[in-house]
Symmetry: C3
Subunit: 138 residues, 3 copies
């Protein structure tokens, strides 16, 4: 059983889609299974993160912006792949540092997330994008 | 087939639980399978790492402490989520940088780990915690 | 169904093996499946990355070389595990930061990679190595 989630983004940050995933899973299994998610891009990531305080998400975005600044920052002048602007190569680096895949156990038809865990797409590009996440339930 | 491993931690560092996982796997399969582990927290990680020299683990802990210092460090003053103390938001950042999931192939009932690979929980908080890792064998 | 890919490396960088994986998958399934890859080392990683411009790969290698420099660099003098030379402990750190596992969905016998996604082994050691990647298709 597979599907595809489409997530519209408007700049860097975390976009939650836990409910969409939970709804699809609960309609398609009432038993034990493994859910695998995979983002089909090299400039966005998947993340399981804290779902309570929005400041966790803005702090995460800011940390990764400082760890991997745009190529307009003098410390990043050594980067050569800059065709699509100053956020191009930093987005590829963040997509190497952060997960392309997530696995979530499904038991009795329910995602086995911890109390404070949500499922997020982490957008690394400045321009709006439509992101594709493929999902497999087995 | 699923189970839950509980790991008691006493401050930042790597806690090995390879033997517990190998024992559970060997009791529950004699064939080819996929083991998936998932930590149910956003302030601890899972890691496959070198299991020979303990200095590898202390060096790893120190590297991540320097890459993501406590919010009491002036370089981290921009972080806003500090309710639970100076190690709160850095723990969330480390849990984004390091794996929430691990997959290990099982062939002939045996974990296909390399010679020097062990399975670890990486604790990011200073206070003692009880950590939950869910496991699925399929 | 499982197999093993062997990848010969000649220093730090990304080594693509997408074609080998796609060929093995297409010979072994004509349906829906989950492919899991796992590297059996703690000084090399797996990565899904941009497969078009080689500068993305050299920029990635350079970024990680600067984020985790050799222990001959004064900023890394605190590291203690240096038995195998200045690139020893940095390789373990990079193998914690970057994936040990990848999962790729297989639908109608085809890897569900995005248009610009390729599968790479990321070598972190300076000396030539033979790297082993185990693969499971279920």
């Amino acid at each position: 059983m597979h599907t595809r989630f489409e997530i519209a983004t408007r700049g860097p940050g975390l976009y939650e889609f836990t409910r969409d995933v939970a709804a699809w899973v609960s309609h398609n299994t009432c038993d034990e299974a493994l859910l695998t998610l995979m983002v089909q891009h090299t400039s966005a990531s998947l993340l399981i993160q804290e779902n309570a305080d929005p400041e966790v998400r803005s702090d995460l975005t800011e940390f990764f912006h400082r760890l991997v600044p745009p190529t307009s920052d003098p410390t990043m002048a050594y980067l050569t792949h800059t065709y699509e602007g100053p956020d191009d190569m930093p987005a590829h680096i963040k997509s190497a540092l952060l997960p392309v895949n997530l696995q979530i156990l499904v038991i009795s038809g329910r995602l086995m997330l911890g109390t404070w865990q949500g499922i997020y797409l982490f957008e690394h590009r400045a321009a709006p994008h439509h992101r594709e996440v493929v999902a497999l339930l087995r």
